[in-house]
């Protein structure tokens, strides 16, 4: 188990600077998610951790020792790839045994550890099969067993759930999380799927273009996103954004006037769909579309401020398409961002128009 530190880590591919300056500490035994859209440098960071890429600058430390130059094979890092990367010409047993072949270890002990790892992820009865004969979920378990069998000091997961179907994803999510807690291994999860990150990780590091946009607990990122980017990236269905001009206690969007509290200027208001509700007063609009989601119904409402998404509990639609409605919300749920510098203005509030 290890504490991992990035100190001013830089990675360049030719002229392209993928990671300009990364500073990050991952505590021993922590489950951290690197979250961001594709091309944000999250996989690059993972490969730097694994020792596959050499950082172009800065220092990478495991437990306070610089490991920049330490080769991948000596780092004792377990990695689960998006494609699982099982060796197709070997049986599952040989796959899991593979990392132990390079450690001087008696064969009986190695086989015992393979059996233990197989037991841990419940693939004992699959040991004699080949990867091609396994389902996606089983391959995923085997990949986990292979990563864990050498008792790594660091476990890396590269989009581990993205190739699984929805139900299996749910199960594996729970299993990986409980496995990580049980073994206490420092784990870094790389994903572009915010649900994966928020459900599994203790802490989320949101990356954008190689820079850390925000670090926080899953609910921090959801409730207090520090930038427009995070607000838009986290949450599904996505947050509603209303752009307006604030002055003298009001925010104007076209002809509609919202009560406003805060400094004047161009602002963007973020409103989560579940914080909006249909009331007798407020912003008026017309239902444009219904999206039943099972437990909830998502209404898309056409308003002066553009299409707004409203999430209501219940499975039976209370409003029909074309029906005029008015939308209200609590000022405390509003997130006000400075449009110019894209950051959250913590003190500002917006209320629904009368």
């Amino acid at each position: 188990m290890a504490k991992v530190e990035f100190r001013h880590v830089v990675k360049r591919f030719g002229d392209v600077e993928v990671i300009p300056d990364l500073n990050l500490t991952i505590e021993d035994g922590e489950f951290v998610a690197l979250l961001g859209p594709s091309g944000c440098g999250k996989s690059t960071s993972l490969f730097i951790l694994a020792g596959i890429y050499l950082p172009s600058g800065g220092e990478l430390l495991f437990d306070g020792r610089v490991v920049n130059e330490v080769e991948a094979k000596d780092r004792n890092v377990g990695i689960v790839f998006q494609s699982y990367a099982l060796y197709p010409h070997m049986t599952v047993r040989d796959n899991v045994l593979f990392p132990l072949r390079f450690k001087r270890m008696p064969r009986e002990e190695a086989l015992a550890r393979v059996a233990a790892a197989g037991n841990l992820v419940q693939v004992t009865e699959l040991l004699d099969r080949r990867p091609g004969e396994l389902s996606g979920g089983q391959q995923q378990r085997v990949a986990l067993a292979r990563a864990l069998v050498k008792e790594p000091q660091l476990l890396l997961l590269d989009e581990p759930l993205s190739n699984l179907d929805a139900t299996l994803r749910l199960t594996m999510r729970t299993e990986i999380k409980s496995l990580q807690k049980k073994l206490g291994v420092t784990t870094v999860l790389v994903t572009h799927d915010q649900i994966e990150a928020t459900t599994m990780a203790d802490r989320i590091i949101c990356l954008r273009a190689g820079r850390i946009e925000q670090i926080g607990q899953p609910d921090d990122l959801y409730r207090r996103p520090q930038s427009l980017f995070i607000a838009g990236f986290i949450g599904s269905p996505p947050i509603n954004m209303i752009s307006g001009e604030a002055r003298d206690g009001v925010m104007c969007v076209g002809s509609v006037v919202f009560p406003f509290e805060g400094a004047p200027g161009a602002v963007t208001v973020g409103l989560r769909p579940e914080h909006l509700r249909f009331t007798g007063s407020g912003l008026s609009g017309r239902i444009a579309q219904l999206e039943p989601m099972g437990r909830e119904i998502l209404y898309v409402v056409d308003t002066v401020a553009g299409y707004l998404r409203v999430l209501e509990h219940g499975s039976i639609a209370a409003h029909a398409v074309g029906e005029p409605v008015r939308i209200g919300f609590s000022p405390d749920d509003s997130l006000v961002f400075d449009t110019a510098c894209q950051t959250l203005v913590a003190a500002a509030r917006v209320g629904p128009p009368a």
Binding site: F47, I52, A72, K73, F81, F98, K150
Partner: protein, 366 residues
Amino acid sequence: MAAPLTFNGIHSSPTAPVDWDRMAARARSMRRSKAVALYAFLIAVSLPIILPYFWLVTIAFSARTGVADTVVLWRSVAVLAPAVIAFWLAAVLARNRRQLWLGLTAIALAATAAFAWLVGPDLHLRNFIFLVEPDFASVVRSRVGAVHGAIQFPSVWRAFGNSLLIAGSQTIVVLTVASLAAYYLSRFQFPARAAMLRSLLILHAFPVLTLIVPMFLMLYWIGLLDTLFGVICVLVAFELPFAIFIMKGFFDAVPWDIEMSALTDGASRRQAFLLVVLPQVRNGLLAVAVFTFIRGWEEYIFVFTFLIRNTNWTMSLYMYYVRDDVMGVDYGVVSAVGVFYLVPSLILYVAAQRYLMQMSIGGVKG
């Protein structure tokens, strides 16, 4: 009233009802005539290859010294052609597996009996005398009274061994060098990589015959003229570019993930290559091995130019001189040498066929 619109947006006349049956019949006959045309084409293009082989094998087992006898050829055609047609008809007409097997067995039995009766008495192995008698040329000539002037032939097994040595060592060297080079080309960035790939193909574009004279002189200066080693070097040099290109395609198809995974699992680069990457390109290695071996086995131009002593003869040279010496007297022996010459390639192809079918240029499995 507007005419109804079809989904293509074309106006169809409401007065002409669609005759579905006629259209179906037309489609059926189209399909059938296409199938017939395809078979006719395949037969037409394969006949010029099949007929000489048929001639070669039949003559090798039946021709007699000094006798130009074509009757046996016609007799075997008379047996084989109806048998093939009957096999085909049985396959088309059989309604189930049992009928098919019954039909095929009956035809096979009838054909064998007819063959034994019509062709059997003419078959013999005397044309294969060269396998046991190095001076067979004199023997064959003496049968027709021409005793003098036969070429001194080495034992055919000597030539066979030489061919095996050339083809085998060429295969081993090409496989080793090509897989390493192709792996490097596939995985690593280095200056002039693209130029190198392009030049690999260009190297293959020139007719090798143009290089015969300079290569002859070079081998002479180095002192490798008339040695098997010299020929092997030349053949390897000419085979490598294409082999590297093919192998690069196979390596390109191996995902990076697997290799990275091996590296993080504690393997060194060399171990990752040997234990994880190489097994993924097994089919490519087999295909390149088979083609390289056969290329070396059938090699003629270089061995003809660079090998002089008759103890250095390969099978192709042996074949050439047999034809030179006894063709006018006995083409049965020439055919027999031909049959003996093609047996190893045939065995190799049959054994490796399963893997060759999976190969295509660029290594994408079909």
